[in-house]
Symmetry: C2
Subunit: 466 residues, 2 copies
Amino acid sequence: MTDSWATFGADLHLDRVGGGLRSGLMEALRKAVRTGRLAPGTRLPSSRSLAADLGIARNTVADAYAELVAEGWLTARQGSGTRVARRSAPREADRAAPLSRPPRSGPAHSLKPGSPDLSAFPRAEWLKAARRALTDAPNEAFGYGDPRGRVELRTVLADYLARARGVYAAPERIVICSGFVHGLALLGRVLGQRRVREVAVEAYGLDVHWNLLTQAGLRTPCLPMDALGSRTGELAGTHGAGAVLLTPAHQFPTGVPLHPDRRAAAVDWARSTAGLILEDDYDGEFRYDRQAVGALQGLDPERVVYLGTASKSLAPGLRLGWMVLPRGMVTEVAHAKGESDWMTSAPDQLTLAEFIVSGAYDRHVRSMRLRYRRRRDQLVAALAERAPDIRVGGIAAGLHAVLELPEGSERAVIQAAARQGLALEGLARFRHRDAPAGRDALVIGYGSPPDSAWAGTLDALCRVLP
Amino acid sequence: MTDSWATFGADLHLDRVGGGLRSGLMEALRKAVRTGRLAPGTRLPSSRSLAADLGIARNTVADAYAELVAEGWLTARQGSGTRVARRSAPREADRAAPLSRPPRSGPAHSLKPGSPDLSAFPRAEWLKAARRALTDAPNEAFGYGDPRGRVELRTVLADYLARARGVYAAPERIVICSGFVHGLALLGRVLGQRRVREVAVEAYGLDVHWNLLTQAGLRTPCLPMDALGSRTGELAGTHGAGAVLLTPAHQFPTGVPLHPDRRAAAVDWARSTAGLILEDDYDGEFRYDRQAVGALQGLDPERVVYLGTASKSLAPGLRLGWMVLPRGMVTEVAHAKGESDWMTSAPDQLTLAEFIVSGAYDRHVRSMRLRYRRRRDQLVAALAERAPDIRVGGIAAGLHAVLELPEGSERAVIQAAARQGLALEGLARFRHRDAPAGRDALVIGYGSPPDSAWAGTLDALCRVLP
């Protein structure tokens, strides 16, 4: 019996962990070995004598020893009893990287773009759909399924997208993915396998999307942009771009729709070069001044990949998105999906299918459309009264608006807002590194605040505007 | 007015699509353009005259035209009226790739390994947990969250894994992923970024896992295997392997646990070379002859990545898995997760957390352990009686067993079974391409059939065995 045991044994008190005393003893011994309190080579007391010391059954101790031998913590050799296993010392001290901290309590108000009003997520309706979907689902729905996604959801989406977004869809062309980011990552991979080297992107957008493409080994040159949207006529000159990523219905973040001529030019380019258009239809359901403009995909379903998502219409936390693909791409994309995460959560897919079929999706979108429209109207009215020099750019659509600022004031306004507990995002943050410097502006996400905070947030904004 | 309109206009009948007559007219026009019935350049009747022909309001037609102009289907130029947009012809006929067909009705019985009994998925309990979880969730749970996953689930898992699997876990070390495949794909990416070139794998396993690593640019040399499991002592000789993928608790598919000396050798190798062990603990909850052997991870949490999944304990369709990581890897893996699919479905994560906390998970695992144990006992008993020459390999654990066959008979048995409507998988299918030829055997997944089919399936198996 070594000193190491003598010190430790005296302190040994058992907590009942899960399975009872055996688990408690095992965990105590593991911990002692891990922390070095029981040194390698230390001989343990016999199971009989430890059992007597602890006042527990001998079998409990013997079982615990046997488990820990099987797990590699102890060794039991004929004639030398049970000992703490000798193991080589760690090669170097493990540099304990600082763990990411939980976010500190954020600013009081936020108008950063990118999120719908999370307080409006229709929990009760969603649960109702989940109940119906999981009750009716066949057993195989809980197994490893088709990487393209559940046929129930693909069928419902084909109908919905044709009706609501003018998409030329068929269930066989659809691959369900875990949100837009996931879909874009899969497409980046497939394009890389097709030896595409470049995906042209818009002069303003999200760096997280560009970085995804870069990760897949693709360059992301940017298209110039003007008041009619991205100048897709210049795609021909974009050396080697095999694809282009566009937000035709409502450019993010500048808020302009792609002009019909620019739509036609994009399709012409794709046809004449066998190129591919990736259509990011992130908020196509929300337009307030007129009926939403349909998707570009319908103009040439063999040259356009349509990407949709529930992140703006329902909630980002669902991680549900969908791609409508050219026929010739379905197999490749489904393969990439299988190698990424096999498939997307079946219960979530079935619940969304039921949610759409029951009419709850249409009702939710309609009610959110009214809510966001009202907010946008209130934003425009408040600005007209309290900051009449600020012009609101972009169409009446989506969950965000661009507020044009006096030249050179963007950073100062954002910093002043931060000091007052209001988080804002400037247009510069969305500018492609190769794009020319643009006007100063804020990108205001009026969709994010809960109803209860909206009036206060709007007031805070007006106070910091020049 | 061209001939093209004359032909088409006579046939034009409106279906009310979603939004009513306007949508119906738009869809009819889109379809006519897409199919070529309305040729590019065709001049359309004025909105007044078409409205009169169709007996609908003029505004409805004018709105539909305006929408289709915005979408790029039509053009409206001063003085030339509304025409079908001219577009370049497709560059080449789109080779319509054959779409993957829905699977034909499968064989009557299957004993292929890899799936739990899907008919036993606890739907009602899962829905109950979902209701509690979604009702209690804070609003931010529906937003873009921490790529590592919900803190609620990570906290619950840290406790569960320590208790049930002897894992040294803390919520800060855990990253939730969308199933094991997804976790392995993320790790492959991180290892590639760390300039690791090789991940040693076991001589028997799943090619889908090896292919994932290959996709990430990693070579996958294989370790020899004997009756004590993979010969981890030979890792030192595996040229340049920076990591090894192991199934220590229950080797898949051979069914042996990794011997304690081999566990120690793996950890020694990892420590002396700063290597990494990827521990695939796919069915660690299911052991029938004794308490399950704890995870290897506890022996050195800084050199082992523990990978767990709900695919065997609950259902693969949930796509829920988890990694317990060395502290120094958390940031990298979370970053890779963010770039893959941002995060895993929040409702699913919260539901699983609630399912574990409420005790439903323990209850389900316990009840499935009894059920699978009974099936394994019945399998062994049936073989002893009806095919006494067949030895059952591997320990009494998990959802599968290895049935050793007379030399040279593996293929013939599988083919004979297929002819009788019984799907079987041979051991050869799981052999690494560099591994020496092994014994003939079947890998029997006794977990998959629903209870109602079990007796019939077992009988069908006995009938085809030599």
